[in-house]
């Protein structure tokens, strides 16, 4: 019975410890939100044209395409991987939508989903069964997908337009309650994303795989199959985003999506997800996306910054934001082990 008191006391020690960690964890996960709130607050006072409904609409719309791509990236990164191909796949998705729509809106949305999903599947297979480093595999498909795009547009010369009245085009251009459909699609996808990650066995196993592949495998999780689905999903979402973006601008533009993958990664990490895998949140990613877009918006609010200074500013911004992130997450990650 002495032992009993012993244990309960340890337990309470643990509870105290857990409370601290819980708060730290919360701050870390919400760190991006905190920073976002700060910037929004400051800008609201700094620029009178910032806190307007129109501007909110713009930012929401501008964020939606990156958000969809970043959602897939979030799952991949949490599993300890990375997907560099999304930028090219995004562009390819748009071109394919414009190509497919000549056979109707259904074809217009299916074609990009099938092909881009297929590329994702290829990534997944090479990573899961070929046991190749995700970074290099998806770097290869980054090139390949762009090549495919150029091949079907005779070297990018041929931009297909999408009929204004087609259903798919409307999906990109139409609005509901003042906000474009893509915005609502994002909301739906992210709610689903939160549920899948937090509340399903699938999401749970993704966290486990990211936390330790070896352990996950020995615990009997179907690591390879999961991994394959993750990359497939990332490809699908990138394709969907591309199709919507094409619909939004009513044409399968061939020059889009260059460097998009880096934006997506930045958004995910700013959102508090560990690139080492095993921890991260879908909500954080959304905040990360908004942060990047608000930064752009603020730069335009200033309105007279030369293009060179613009990149300097966004680079500095990025560094500061992640620095704050890291600082907030210190306690959470118990750095005394790793540093």
């Amino acid at each position: 019975m002495t032992v009993v008191t012993d244990k309960t006391e340890v337990a309470t020690v643990e509870k105290g410890l857990s409370r601290r960690q819980w708060i730290a964890g919360l701050v870390q996960r919400r760190g991006s939100v905190v920073v976002l709130a700060l910037i929004v607050l400051v800008s609201t006072f700094a620029f009178d044209s910032f806190a307007t409904v129109d501007n909110a609409r713009n930012i929401a719309m501008q964020s939606s395409f990156l958000a969809i791509v970043a959602l897939g990236m979030t799952f991949v990164i949490i599993s300890g991987g990375i997907d560099l191909s999304v930028g090219s796949v995004f562009a390819l998705g748009g071109v394919l939508a414009a190509l497919g729509i000549q056979w109707g809106s259904v074809a217009g949305i299916l074609l990009p989903l099938v092909v881009c999903g297929g590329i994702g599947l290829l990534n997944g297979a090479l990573v899961a069964y070929g046991r190749l480093a995700p970074f290099i595999v998806t770097l290869a498909t980054l090139l390949g997908a762009r090549g495919l795009l150029l091949a079907i547009t005779d070297e990018g010369a041929n931009t297909r337009l999408m009929p204004r009245d087609a259903l798919l085009t409307q999906l990109g251009q139409g609005t509901f309650l003042g906000f474009g459909y893509p915005v609502w699609i994002v909301i739906v996808l992210f709610v689903l994303g939160v549920l899948v990650l937090q509340r399903t066995r699938f999401g749970h196993s993704v966290l486990a795989i990211g936390g330790s592949v070896e352990a996950a495998r020995l615990m009997g999780l179907p690591v390879a199959r999961r991994t394959m689905w993750l990359y497939t999903g990332s490809g699908l979402l990138a394709g969907l985003s591309g199709a919507l973006a094409a619909a939004y601008s009513a044409s399968g533009v061939t020059i889009v999506g260059v460097g998009f993958e880096l934006d997506a990664i930045a958004a995910v990490v700013i959102g508090g997800t560990l690139l080492t895998g095993g921890a991260g949140t879908v909500g954080g990613t959304l905040a990360g996306v908004l942060l990047l877009m608000v930064i752009q918006n603020v730069i335009n609010q200033i309105g007279t910054l030369s293009s060179h200074y613009q990149s300097v500013v966004s680079g500095a911004f990025l560094a500061i934001v992640v620095a704050i992130q890291a600082y907030l997450s210190r306690a959470h990650l118990g750095r005394e082990r790793s540093t």
Binding site: T5, V10, A11, K15, T200, R201, L207, G211, G220
Partner: protein
């Protein structure tokens, strides 16, 4: 149904580049038996288990499960067939909560197919409680000590009502209380007609729980049969492959338990070590040539104490003095410079560099002193590596073999060698003999004795009371990060230690 084996492995062979880990090994597990699998470090126990459970495909031989020929291509297959395993290196997900780790892959779900965390957490708490572990199951596993992690792993394996339960050194980081609970579990499992394969280097445990035994040596099966019919000495003889007389002569030497009465000024003096939620003003004093044991139950803060002294755990208050000179706390480098080195508890994550060679692992901490003008001197390296590989009898195909490929015990020896080439003043050993075979264990213990005799100060943590008592000249007993008793001289006995723990537990 007894008689018809559940698992029957025939002529199993497995080789890795440069090593034959197993060659035609037979193993038969009968329902309701607890089967001991023993052998020296590197004998092939873990490899056999990994082959049985689909981690490695066998290179030869056949596996029959309930009479049917089977090939498990991945652990999942084995588990679905009804074989659940606790592998040697605890394989759980540190970032995830205790509950998640317990239920991964079979989380309780509500009627919408979503995970039901409340149900999962209560179930987890209840399960662990039946193992005598009371933790907040929502905590990330990484915040818990090796002991709890070990218990969680066992609980996870035994929870699935399996037909075969395989435990690879489950007690290596448990102390008696936990071991007892574990054995209750094993008996329960056995009673349900399941078979248990049990690996341990602790002979007394084997004789307590196992009915039959298979002995491996250098990847071959050298004996299989009822355990009762073997004496300890015979068993050891089989494992080490020496004849009885030889062993009786040498004995499986432990520490020479003559306490050195050292009265000089302390080589290490820790005062009032305090670290949030972990340590509350711990004092430890070590004199040259003295071995100070740290006693305590799981989570008493033994590891924290030594980590604080080694600078790897930042402390909020307290001082560490080495040979009269104050050492900056919270800096491993500073502690090392002053001559304090730590053998970490978690070999896997804090110790070995699995992809680097034995040589590189050994010299790692001593690189600067083995190099001239920033250039590593291969000659000096080889000299020292050779010296320690011999002295610690490290079993590797060559100094260039990857440490990740060594058996658990040999990895431990490599780490010990790494510390010794720093020519330290004080050795902090957290579970130094965890997972080390009888032979090696004796060697390590003897070595520690020698080093102390040479004037080193030693702090020893072991979850085996027997070892602490045998090894230590004095014992500092901890509970929840506080010193609750100090035993010296004649008081250093198992009874006194247990008494101290109990009293300590009386009322805080």
């Amino acid at each position: 149904m007894t008689g018809s084996p559940i698992v029957d492995a025939r002529a199993v062979g497995k080789w890795f580049p440069g090593v034959v880990a197993l060659s035609d090994v037979d193993l038969t597990l009968l329902p309701g038996e607890v089967h001991a699998l023993v052998g020296e470090n590197g004998a092939g126990k873990s490899t056999l288990i990994k082959v049985l459970t689909g981690v490695y495909p066998p290179d030869s031989g056949e596996l029959f499960f309930r009479g049917e020929p089977v090939r498990f291509s991945r652990p999942l297959d084995a588990q679905q067939a009804g074989i659940s395993t606790v592998y040697q290196e605890i394989n759980l997900v540190p970032l995830m909560s205790v509950a998640s780790n317990l239920f991964l892959g079979r989380e309780p779900r509500n009627r919408f197919g979503l995970m039901d965390f409340k149900a999962m957490n209560t179930a987890a708490a209840k399960l662990l409680d039946s193992y005598g572990v009371d933790v907040d199951v929502t905590l990330p596993l990484r915040t818990l000590g090796a002991g709890v992690r070990q218990m969680v792993a066992v609980a996870r394996a035994a929870a699935t009502n399996a037909q075969v339960v395989i435990l690879d050194e489950p007690t290596s980081s448990l102390e008696p209380r936990e071991v007892d609970t574990l054995f209750e579990i094993i008996n329960r499992v056995r009673a349900n007609g399941a078979a248990v394969l049990y690996v341990s280097h602790r002979l007394d445990e084997l004789y307590r729980i196992c009915s039959s035994v298979t002995v491996l040596r250098d990847g071959r099966k050298v004996h299989s049969g009822p355990l009762a019919s073997l004496s300890r000495l015979e068993l050891v003889a089989l494992m080490l492959g020496r004849d009885l007389e030889q062993i009786e002569r040498e004995g499986t030497t432990k520490f020479d338990s003559t306490p050195t009465e050292a009265l000089e000024t302390p080589v290490l003096a820790a005062r009032g070590l305090t670290s949030q939620h972990r340590l509350h003003g711990v004092d430890v004093t070590v004199r040259p040539g003295e071995i100070v044991g740290l006693g305590g139950l799981l989570g008493a803060g033994r590891s924290e104490t030594v980590r604080a002294m080694a600078g790897s755990l930042p402390v909020d208050a307290g001082t560490v003095t080495v040979a009269g000179r104050k050492v900056r706390t919270g800096s491993v480098a500073a502690a090392m410079r002053s001559g304090v080195v730590l053998l970490p508890e978690d070999r896997k994550s804090d110790g070995v560099l699995p992809d680097l060679s034995v040589r590189e692992n050994i010299v790692l901490a001593a690189l600067p002193r083995l190099s001239a003008g920033g250039l590593v001197s291969r000659k000096r390296q080889d000299a020292i590596v050779d010296k320690f590989m011999k002295r610690l009898r490290i079993k590797a195909s060559s100094p260039d073999q990857k440490v990740g490929e060594l058996s658990g015990g040999n990895q431990q020896k490599v780490l010990l060698a790494r510390l010794l080439c720093r020519e330290p003043k004080v050795l902090l050993l957290d579970e130094p003999t965890r997972g080390i075979d009888v032979g090696a264990k004796a060697e390590v213990q003897a070595l520690v004795g020698e080093l102390a005799a040479e004037g080193l100060g030693v702090v020893l943590i072991s979850s085996e009371f027997e070892e602490v008592v045998e090894g230590s000249d004095s014992i500092v007993v901890l509970r929840e990060g506080r010193v609750v008793a100090e035993l010296r001289g004649a008081d250093v006995t198992e009874q006194k230690l247990i008494a101290a723990l109990a009293e300590g537990g009386g009322d805080g």
